[in-house]
Subunit: 221 residues, 2 copies
């Protein structure tokens, strides 16, 4: 029983030193032996806590996502729950500033070709994405601007996305399963644009040396 605290403690230490190693030296510096060295331990001892390096990295990704969720949470906490538009903008800006402030973490979480296939359900970021869109939509009663142009052939997928959303909503906040296909569609398009913009900016993949990306981002909103 006494070892429980100690175990959780060194576990925390492992993850935090992994984080600092990542932000200071990049993903290539995230190595088992370096972590062990940093906390005064030998490398094989880490296998008492994680099954492999990629397992550890996956958990670090989870921590990173949790931090991002906290960040967005505080951003959202300071805003009135009824002004949906400003809430949306705020969380988008929060996502961007977080990504710029933590480029290495962003790269690790978003630019890793994703565990093959099965990383859908327990994907930590997918969870926080659903949670936050749900939390925002919960404050906006079904305004439902009359189902914009949801093309025929992708109705099925949009509906599936809608269902995923209401599932996530039911688990977190009060049950309000009133999300239209139109809003789900616009949420999806919003995400595509936000992700594209932020990823291009963080990875510096614009086709010209952009001097100040902030107004470009603002204009996208």
């Amino acid at each position: 029983m006494t070892g429980d605290r100690s175990r959780a403690d060194t576990d925390r230490r492992i993850r935090t030193v992994a984080r600092t190693l990542l932000v200071e030296q990049g993903a290539q510096g995230l190595t088992l032996r370096a972590i062990a060295r940093q906390i005064g331990i030998t490398a094989p001892a880490l296998y008492r806590y994680y099954a492999s390096l990629s397992d550890l990295i996956q958990h670090v990704c989870g921590d990173i996502c949790a931090d991002l969720a906290d960040d967005l949470g505080t951003v959202l906490a300071n805003l009135p729950t009824d002004d949906t538009a400003s809430r949306v903008f705020a969380v988008c800006r929060g996502f961007r500033t977080w990504a710029i402030a933590h480029p290495r973490e962003f790269g690790l979480v978003f630019a890793t070709p994703a565990a093959p296939g099965a990383a859908d359900a327990n994907d930590p970021f997918g969870q926080i994405f659903l949670t936050f869109t749900g939390r925002i939509l919960a404050g906006a009663p079904g305004q439902e601007r009359s189902d914009p142009d949801a093309p025929e052939r992708l109705r099925a997928d949009i509906a599936l996305f809608r269902d995923t959303l209401v599932d996530a909503l039911r688990d977190a906040d009060q049950p309000e399963p009133e999300i239209g296909l139109g809003t789900a569609y616009t949420v999806l398009r919003f995400w595509v644009r936000l992700y594209g913009q932020v990823a291009l900016e963080v990875f510096d993949r614009f086709p010209f040396p952009v001097t100040d990306a902030t107004p470009l981002f603002e204009s996208m909103l």
Copy 2:
């Protein structure tokens, strides 16, 4: 003199075997010793051709981009030069299908956190991006839909992008330095959306298990 052919030959072999290694085993299988082994050579010999592994990888990225450019080139070659809209759609679809058909290459080129800073001018993909937008725009005489809403604060960057574009145009096709700020702006937004959509799709980062992404992509256009 006789060695020149031989040298270029093994250089080609190095790059092609590196490519196949990448697509068959992923970026983690792209290793000096594996390449050397595959072509019946020892690892240090590769240093006669490239200064380091990352140097080699960079050249492989160049090859990949060249292939992508070829692909888009043939796509564009079969279309009338006056129908700009269909040309734009065709090259976007071409980009997507190429990315889906070559996910590992796409990941290597677009999801690598980018060489720090200086990778702007000689970035191979930046070149082909500019080339193709230029080639498309060259067929569309200054229709210039009256400068849409180019926000004030990013005029400078848009203008810089426009200049980069006309520079690339002047080098390739006939000189036609008639590109408005508005079109440059829309081109940029187009790129953000296209990149976001394709990257999300290839990295499987949609917040729900999308079954058929094609109509979603089509709707974005």
